[in-house]
Subunit: 268 residues, 2 copies
DNA sequence: TAGTGGTCTAGACCACTGG
DNA sequence: CAGTGGTCTAGACCACTAA
């Protein structure tokens, strides 16, 4: 006559009990769960079993552990999370590799004169590469792009294989600065005469603009890019998969921006 | 005089050794790693320690375990993955809750006459809701939308709170059918006269089109939506985070380094 | 059936945190 | 310093898979 029937692992039962207790407010967010020793006593189970249960809670993002302190309740509900996976190799690189780039211009421009909102001192001069992107066979470009590189890393734009490897990836190779976050802003635009001409479409026709911001682990924006595509030659597709439990470990950090909604309000 | 120095947990050392062996092709993808018992013998460690090491490999996506079979090598390299997280509650709901919807029309239309490419029999009649979306205060709508619901679930469109909760969420509540995948297609469009008028913008002005496809766990598309936004009132922003940013990162990083097993201590 | 990984126990010592 | 979680051992039995 025990809590545990034969079928389910005991640590599942324990994890269930704990998460329900959390859900019901018995262990409010920010407080500590009972210690492992206490839980062992309460449930009459060995420490490893209890630890396995807590591990599940941590994976679900409900709790976190700190040595010497305890197990902290992090949230009350398990939120369902959809994830888009972008494998650096498979997607970004593929894009670069399946297309060719023609660089039209390389200059240094002050942040204030850039086409995208570069952070920091407006007088700071960023290295700017302007170019076009083609897919094989097609004569008309699929994108007009500008890449802005922070001055410290401007040297990478001299690399020989600059056209075949993403710039942010060159920066990582050479300076060890890694993009830990990429922000993307997608909007529809009306093409100006200059860009339209390069893309070989009528002026004021419709285009899709994608602005990317590469943020280092230190929170510093070290590269920004803008791509403008003719509407009829480019769609942006993505797939969001319902996350499974083992990946929910990463839930801890919350998105700062609601990904669905953005009025024309500004970015920082 | 052992493989194990005092500093690192032994299961980290084991995981490191195994992942390097995989990287070097000693255990090709698709083959099985040595059994836990064999690894215990090889490293002279207890089974739990070995299991903890394998757990790391699994978390990194390098291996998978199957009871009764063994531990299979799944990939050779740790791929860096960027993920976008969309918390169903926090983001999609927020979008719905912060905006209000006005339904203009509810009809049943055959797939062939829909504005989006509905799968299956072209004669199948889907429930279609057409409407506008507003943000508080703003008089002009931020979106014109059409929602197509597969006939089996059309009943949910009668729900009272239909305007406050996403349709796909109602379907889950009522029929237990869950969206395991959401595909999105974003493109720039030129607004037709009809939509432009409803959005209160000039005809042929620029808009952003977002088509969403909700796929159930059975792979069936049960809902599709199209939203068209005035270009100046809507941007689509998203944030991609580098996965494995937490504990596993440290193992993942070591994988890229060449052979020498011990030596440098990496700490951030 | 033999062998795999999955679960579980009852110990032990260590590293870290806070008072 | 006492108490926490982190690591580790040497056993044990079970559920599953393939031959």
């Amino acid at each position: 006559m025990s809590l545990f029937d034969a079928k389910r692992p005991r640590y599942h039962v324990v994890a269930d009990a704990l998460s329900q207790a959390i859900q019901q407010g018995r262990y409010p967010v920010g407080t500590l769960l009972p210690t492992e020793a206490e839980l062992c006593a309460q449930f009459g189970l060995s420490r490893q079993t209890i630890r396995e249960a807590i591990r599940l809670l941590v994976e679900l993002g409900l709790a976190s552990r700190r040595q010497g302190v305890g197990t902290r309740v992090e949230r009350r509900d398990v939120s369902q999370t959809y994830v888009q996976r972008l494998e650096a190799v498979a997607d970004i690189w593929q894009y670069v590799e399946e297309t060719s780039r023609k660089v039209l211009k390389v200059t240094d421009v002050p942040a204030s004169r850039a086409r995208v909102p570069l952070p920091g001192d407006p007088a700071r001069r960023w290295r700017m590469l302007e170019g076009l992107r083609f897919v094989a066979d097609e004569r008309r470009p699929i994108a007009w792009t500008q890449v802005y590189v922070a001055p410290e890393y401007a040297a990478v734009t001299d690399a020989k294989n600059r056209d075949r490897v993403p710039i942010f990836s060159l920066i990582e190779q050479r300076f060890g600065v890694k993009a830990s976050r990429i922000r993307q802003d997608i909007s529809a635009v009306s093409l100006g005469a200059d860009v339209a001409k390069l893309l070989r479409v009528p002026a004021r026709s419709v285009g899709l603009s994608v602005v990317r911001e590469y943020v280092s682990t230190q929170g510093e924006v070290f590269e920004m890019t803008i791509s403008i595509h003719p509407a009829d030659r480019y769609h942006y597709t993505m797939q969001l998969d319902l996350a499974y439990a083992s990946e929910s470990a990463f839930i801890a950090e919350r998105l700062t921006l609601p990904a669905g909604l953005r009025g024309s309000s500004s970015k920082k």
